[in-house]
């Protein structure tokens, strides 16, 4: 992979101030390169979710700029914004599938930004899209559930369906906002493994928010630590030792993990 060191997400002096004056993000400057597997950690309310959602502009920032593959998403409008979002897949803590629709339908919705509105209103997805959706499902080992209704699946299966949906977008980046918070330890492993494989096999850049520092160390290549909206740690996994993290967060963060890792 020749362009391994090219920056694909760039935060430049990003600040988010809420109407009541509180700062959600404080002057963030972060560069994420293609192919990285970045995990963002921090206490609840540290701004992890805000940061992640500002990458695809589900949340707005008040100053600064965010560049996606050298294009400013902060300044983009209308169709341009949608095209940038098309290249970014996202996975949510509550899966965000349409419960009454079939798995196939849910995965296909990843393709909506590729076709004109009329076709989409009539539900005319080309056969190629359907095959692509099927392949994504195969990649997460859920191929046999293709026509099943989404709410008939377990939580872990639903999350993997949403991974398949993100994959079907043929994205350059996949964002995951606390993807395993509602899952049991076994399913958590499956989902994180899926993400790892996607990162390694397809070269897609992955940014994940996680509560658990232990998981972060197990799967990430690079860890970013946020505290009260500010960047307090940015480095390879090897540097994110217990001691170092206690220094930054106080012992709360290790205790929070011990509480969560039952």
């Amino acid at each position: 992979m020749a362009l391994e060191n090219e920056t694909i997400i760039s935060f430049q002096n990003v600040t988010k101030q809420y109407p009541n004056g509180v700062l959600g993000l404080k002057d963030l400057n972060i560069d994420i390169k293609k192919g990285e597997f970045v995990i963002v950690v921090g206490l609840s309310g540290a701004g992890k979710s805000t940061m992640l959602r500002s990458i695809n502009r589900l949340h707005e920032i008040t100053s600064g700029e965010i560049l996606i593959d050298s294009k400013s998403i902060t300044k983009a409008k209308g169709r341009e914004l949608r095209l940038i979002r098309r290249d970014i897949g996202m996975i949510f803590q509550s899966f965000n599938l349409v419960k009454r629709s079939s798995v196939l339908r849910n995965v296909l919705t990843g393709r909506v930004a590729y076709h004109p509105t009329i076709k989409m209103l009539l539900g005319l997805f080309p056969q190629a899209d359907k095959e692509l959706a099927y392949q994504s499902l195969q990649r997460v080992n859920l191929a046999e559930k293709v026509y099943t209704r989404a709410d008939e699946l377990s939580g872990g299966q639903q999350q993997r369906v949403s991974i398949a949906r993100a994959l079907t977008q043929e994205p350059k980046i996949i964002l995951a906002d606390e993807p395993v918070a509602s899952l049991d330890p076994l399913t958590t492993e499956k989902v994180m493994n899926d993400l790892k494989r996607i990162n390694q096999d397809l070269g897609i850049t992955i940014v994940v928010n996680l509560h658990s520092v232990q998981l972060a160390r197990e799967y990430g290549t690079r860890i970013i630590g946020l505290r009260d909206g500010g960047l307090v740690f940015d480095g390879p996994v090897s540097e994110a030792t217990d001691q170092r993290l206690k220094q930054i967060y106080g012992s709360e963060i290790i205790e929070e993990q011990e509480g969560a890792g039952q």
Binding site: K130, E131, A133, Y134, Q138, A143, V146, Y147
Partner: protein
């Protein structure tokens, strides 16, 4: 591996439903002669709009008791008394129709059917029957509203009774209370706020009904309304419509506020 085909059963079922629905619509449209519509529709709509925009303000209050305000008050009065009477009459019906441990299935089922029958009996027919009994005028309207409302009100009451929490009754019984104690301390305190809320809701609908019953002579704004339409005095129609809209909106608003405070 290629995408497998969609399961057959679902496809067949969807096609069947589509065919049935299409046939139903073809049948429905066949029965309505759309072609036989008058030619001067456009002109009439135009005059109606003109009348609506220039309402007959003089009709609002003339002091002879036949004006808009007096009649709207009369309409609301009909609805008020009618709903009140209905709420009292509905209570025994509600207990009849409510499924409970003490009453057999067939009894409550029969009660429910009786209520559906009352609800289906056209209010207009009731109004005419009462007109033949007590003469034309708003009293007939009151009676028609009271009887017809039992259908919906008793049904709502009975559902409230069925969904009642039995905990408080149990605690009164276990403390040594008799039937009347249970009624007074457990049942009624739970039911009364809900009953009041339903009654207020029914009152909102009754105001609408009461404004129509006048069409057959049962008092309220309905009579002048139908006269005005038949006489094509669109300005008068406009002011009456305005009066109805304003009155109903105000009553809905007040009633909505009260109901929120109850529940």
């Amino acid at each position: 591996m290629m995408l497998p085909a969609e399961p057959k059963k679902k496809k067949i079922r969807n096609w069947l439903i589509a065919v049935v629905v299409i046939l139903l619509y073809i049948w429905a449209f066949a029965g309505i002669p759309f072609a036989g519509v008058k030619e001067n529709v456009g002109q009439i709509v135009g005059s109606i709009f003109y009348g609506l925009i220039h309402p007959d303000w003089g009709y609002v209050y003339t002091g002879d008791g036949e004006d808009l305000i007096s009649l709207m008050i009369e309409t609301v009065a009909i609805a008020f008394v009618g709903t009140f009477l209905s709420s009292i009459l509905s209570i025994p019906f509600a207990f009849w129709a409510a499924r409970s441990k003490n009453s057999p299935r067939w009894l409550s089922g029969f009660g429910k059917i009786v209520l559906t029958a009352i609800r289906t009996f056209p209010e207009i027919v009731l109004a005419i029957m009462f007109i033949k009994t007590v003469g034309p005028g708003s009293f007939a309207g009151v009676l028609a509203v009271s009887v017809h409302s039992i259908g919906m009100l008793a049904k709502l009451y009975s559902e409230a009774i069925e969904n009642m929490d039995h905990g408080p009754s149990e605690s009164v019984v276990s403390a040594g209370g008799n039937r009347w104690d249970v009624l007074g301390f457990a049942t009624l305190p739970q039911l009364i706020p809900e009953f009041l809320s339903f009654t207020l809701y029914r009152f909102e609908l009754a105001v609408r009904s009461a404004s129509i019953l006048g069409i057959v002579g049962a008092g309220g704004i309905g009579t002048p309304m139908i006269f005005a339409i038949n006489a094509r005095s669109w300005s008068r129609v406009g002011i009456i419509l305005l009066g109805i809209v304003v009155t109903v909106t105000i009553i809905d608003f007040i009633s909505g506020r009260l109901r929120k405070r109850l529940v």
